[in-house]
Symmetry: C2
Subunit: 294 residues, 2 copies
Amino acid sequence: MHGNGLIAVDWGTTNRRIFVLGVDGSVEQREADARGVTAIAADGFPAEMAELRARFGDHPLLLAGMIGSTRGWKEAPYVACPVTLPQLSERMLWVEPGRTAIVPGACIAGGELVDVMRGEEVQVFGAVAAGLIEPDGLLCHPGTHAKWVRLEAGAITGFRTFMTGELFALLREHSILSAQMIGDSSDCSAFREGVRRSLDHPGALTSHLFGTRARILLGKLKEEDAASYVSGLLIGADVATGLDLGPGSVGLIGAPALTGLYAAALDESGRSHQEVDGEEAFVAGARALVETFA
Amino acid sequence: MHGNGLIAVDWGTTNRRIFVLGVDGSVEQREADARGVTAIAADGFPAEMAELRARFGDHPLLLAGMIGSTRGWKEAPYVACPVTLPQLSERMLWVEPGRTAIVPGACIAGGELVDVMRGEEVQVFGAVAAGLIEPDGLLCHPGTHAKWVRLEAGAITGFRTFMTGELFALLREHSILSAQMIGDSSDCSAFREGVRRSLDHPGALTSHLFGTRARILLGKLKEEDAASYVSGLLIGADVATGLDLGPGSVGLIGAPALTGLYAAALDESGRSHQEVDGEEAFVAGARALVETFA
């Protein structure tokens, strides 16, 4: 661990999570707030860093996520897959040497299907470094833009992003289904029915989504179950395609409420899985990155 | 044709199209406005009908579409498939006998996959009655909620709805892709690339949608082509599943700008097609329905 402690920030578009690590690597403080990159003016980042150090101590800063994107503070160019933890560390952008580093994202740049990630790679490498998941296998990181990741000998060799969480939010807030999609999704029989329908026929997703309305009109679905049914359709389609990335048990990394829904969907698919808390994985990743440069 | 002419209205959720037919069945006037059912107060429909007759003449009124839904004036219950033109006519809701009729919608109520339509059935039967399409085959009616319809001996024996147009609008107006999805979709190389990607792998739609952003970030897609690419992905997924309804040439019924995009997508799939103007099909359907009760 770094000799002076560390402030590690998982800095997203609309939110950020801050972890203050002690000299021994333990988490001394953790906070979350809505100061994602879009909440900060383009010239406001240096003051933001000073403010973090004033609040949490004059420690080195390790910044991951959208902070390194074109919408963030400074662009840390993507590292192309396959990528390992040491490669990610070597390609960190040092805003101030030894003091302030931005972790680059990962990309798939060759071939027909290209993709990008920023932030999840720290959780993935952290989960491996902490022994929470095996260095070979399949991972899923649910969320607004859910990631499915293939790991081989500790390297990220491929991944795919799905617009799962964003589509759920769009449908709930702005669509013909909005009036019925009250509340959050939960692992109920309507959720599982949606999952099975998409596992059986993922290509018919946009038809099954409209079918939510038809099922309510024809008395096949209760209005109060609409959000769970739609969530099941979206997560089922996501799982059906994500599983194509490889065999074996799936490590689910993220917030427990979300990984629980994916665990239920994986149960319907017959694939085994284990859940890993995303915050613990991020902290482990920050520790591992600091060790490679300390 | 009815001895007194006819006012036929294709009455949707947000828009309506009005056709005044003469004694010989010819279209004497046609208008379109934004007085869809949601623009009219629940108790405002009788006054609306009086206003239509004051403007267009004291003729019988034939009303189709969402006007017969629970959100419209009076509910005309769905007729379950298989449904023929005479059955639709028999099940019309007569608000005032011989003067004011609401055409019911069609539904698929049995089995696992249920579905509903209101309004498109008039265009489908009209296109057959006018000899614009064969009484056996596959039809597609693009739109906010695109319909694929199976016709057998002039009866609608099955159909499926896809949330294609609505998802396009949600993504363009409210998503992470909004800033790039400028303008409308057109049949360009980016549109065709999106179509092919979805035809090859319709189950990965939500991943390909996110891929739009990755392609722009990595220089594989120009921002100005984003709307066409997304449209190609959505229409391609729609076509890939719609074609499963049956063999043969596809009749495309609707507005020419939209049927043209579907024609391009069907070209990519290798399936033959012919385009039919949706307004002409509706007028032909109104004529045919009037003949069955006149």
